[in-house]
Amino acid sequence: MNILVCLSQVPDTTTKISFTSDNKELNKAGVQYIINPYDELALTKALELNEASGGGSITVVHVGGADAEPVLRKALAIGADQAVRIDTAPMDARQVAAEIAHFVSSASFDLVLAGRESIDYNGGLVGGMLAEYLDWPLVNVATSIEGGAGGSMIVCRDMDGGREKLEVYLPAVITCQKELTEPRIPNMRGIMAARTKPLQVLAPQGKGADMHVLEHALPPSRQACRFFEVHQMDELVEALHQQAKVL
């Protein structure tokens, strides 16, 4: 299959978040960027699907500036065949989805995989918007993906209060959840090969953003913890009942 994997780069999960003095953006000093963990699962799944079927190619696409190229090289080292970067600052989900949709219409992909959300803006919207732009089916939050009969895929997805197994015909957009697979660490051969794999930079279509960030803030700090001894459980329960009113 020809599979497209949408990649975003995000601050490492251990990052302590702070904002610039005008609160307009993230304070990037000392921040390490990684492939968004759910996108990395999408990439690994793409490799597994093509290894199982014995063919096809994998393209990764990113909407953003040249600072994301180390992350794209890492994706190539993990095993993607080529990378595409659409050269514009990502502003909101609709803009990113429109740019990727335009790229997808100019190529021939059977399947688009993306993470279920990025761990920076946590929107979880790009996959669904992309599916609508392309008029393709969407399966959101997939925990397993397998090839089915006659060009279909069998997918399990998380839903409210359970899980659903469903069949979807390609081409389709599927967003990836934990449990789908385990990420792969690139080996030396992959890292060497990544240097010469194609990384194409495309000009954007230039769709503007709908959503504009006014400012950022840190979550309000919480009051100091009130401690109870092991033999004071009735007192703790009383506090939860009377003071916090949560029991």
Binding site: I119, Y121, N122, G162, P219, F228, E229, V230, D234, L247
Partner: protein, 326 residues
């Protein structure tokens, strides 16, 4: 101001998020004198249950006359909502940011060409020029961003448990609603549904009891389950616990798991790594139980017990039982 609310149902019962969605719309735009809220039910439910949405601010409720929407197929529901948007003349669509909502709102924002404020924490602040200021958490709960939202058509989805439903009786009528959506428009075919039986879904839970490595093994989880049972709570776990397969991954809360904001979150034997705290720090009240007084969880907890989970949990469960009986 005309608003369409999409209300979820499952197996013929309104979901908790249905009442929340109606009340969220009512509380957000109450100050608009010309507010009119139409509710599209995402499937057929009991007529009386539908009429009760009036208690939370619905003016009319549209009950699908056909059974086609009773199971959730995202493409059929998206088309039905578009039909209802056109028929109601709504400028704003409101729904919960549940798994269903997360699948619907991105598609609808493109299809209906609407500005999407997804997963907001609280009702929008409405400015005199008609724009909204909305707040949502970013960086997996480590930050909060405010956005300005304007545009002729808007979609607002809110996090479950973001706002307590408030009763405000408004005259409400339930109408049968005929959809033009045809089952041929479905793009996926459901093969099997596995529902979690008898358990409170984590994302809907008002109280959550969560266990970490301090429990020392899956065989001790009855202590967590007993406590959860006495306080009608859902159970959750930390990442190491789901990674070691002590508990299934759908219980994993944290930055790369589920983000929740219950009224009460109790962390038992979880040290409080930054990634875990990110997923739970918007909980209203946090209780931490840990043997290590220096555990980071105590820095964000409202109440703490330094002690062995095996000793604390049975006593805490008993104490809550006494309160419930009392």
């Amino acid at each position: 101001m005309k608003i369409l609310v999409y209300a979820e149902q499952q197996d013929g019962h309104l979901k908790k998020s249905a009442v929340e969605a109606v009340s969220f719309a009512r509380q957000s735009f109450e100050s608009r004198g010309d507010l009119n809220i139409t509710v599209l039910l995402g499937g057929q439910v009991d007529t009386q249950a539908a009429a009760e949405l009036g208690l939370y601010g619905a003016n009319s409720v549209w009950m699908p006359a056909e059974s086609i929407l009773n199971s959730f197929e995202v493409h059929l529901h998206a088309l039905a909502i578009q039909q209802a948007l056109a028929e109601s003349g709504a400028e704003v669509l409101v729904m919960a940011h549940t798994y269903c909502g997360k699948s619907l709102v991105p598609r609808l924002s493109v299809a209906w060409d609407a500005v999407l404020a997804a997963g907001v924490n609280s009702p929008p602040e409405c400015a005199s020029d008609g724009s909204w200021k909305v707040y949502r958490t970013v960086y997996s709960n480590k930050g909060i961003a405010s956005y300005s939202v304007s545009g002729v058509r808007r979609i607002l989805s809110f996090l479950p448990n973001a706002l307590k439903p408030v009763e405000c009786s408004s005259p409400c009528t339930v109408f049968p609603w005929n959809t033009t959506v045809n089952s041929a428009a479905a793009k996926t075919r459901s093969l099997e549904l596995q529902k979690v039986q008898g358990k409170i879904p984590l994302t809907e839970a008002e109280r959550v009891i969560s266990g970490g490595r301090g429990l020392k093994g899956p065989e001790h989880w009855h202590l967590i389950e007993d406590l959860a049972e006495v306080c009608d709570a859902a159970t959750a776990c930390s990442k190491p616990v789901s990674d070691m397969h002590w508990r299934s991954h759908d219980e994993h809360v944290g930055q790369t798991g589920i983000t929740i904001k219950p009224d009460l979150y109790m962390a038992v034997g979880i040290s409080g790594a930054i990634q875990h705290l990110a997923g739970v720090s918007s909980s209203k009240t946090i209780v931490a139980i840990n043997t290590d007084r220096e555990a980071p969880f105590f820095k964000v907890a409202d109440y703490g017990v330094v002690g062995d989970a095996f000793e604390v949990l049975p006593q805490l469960t008993q104490a809550i039982r006494r309160l419930r009986k009392g």
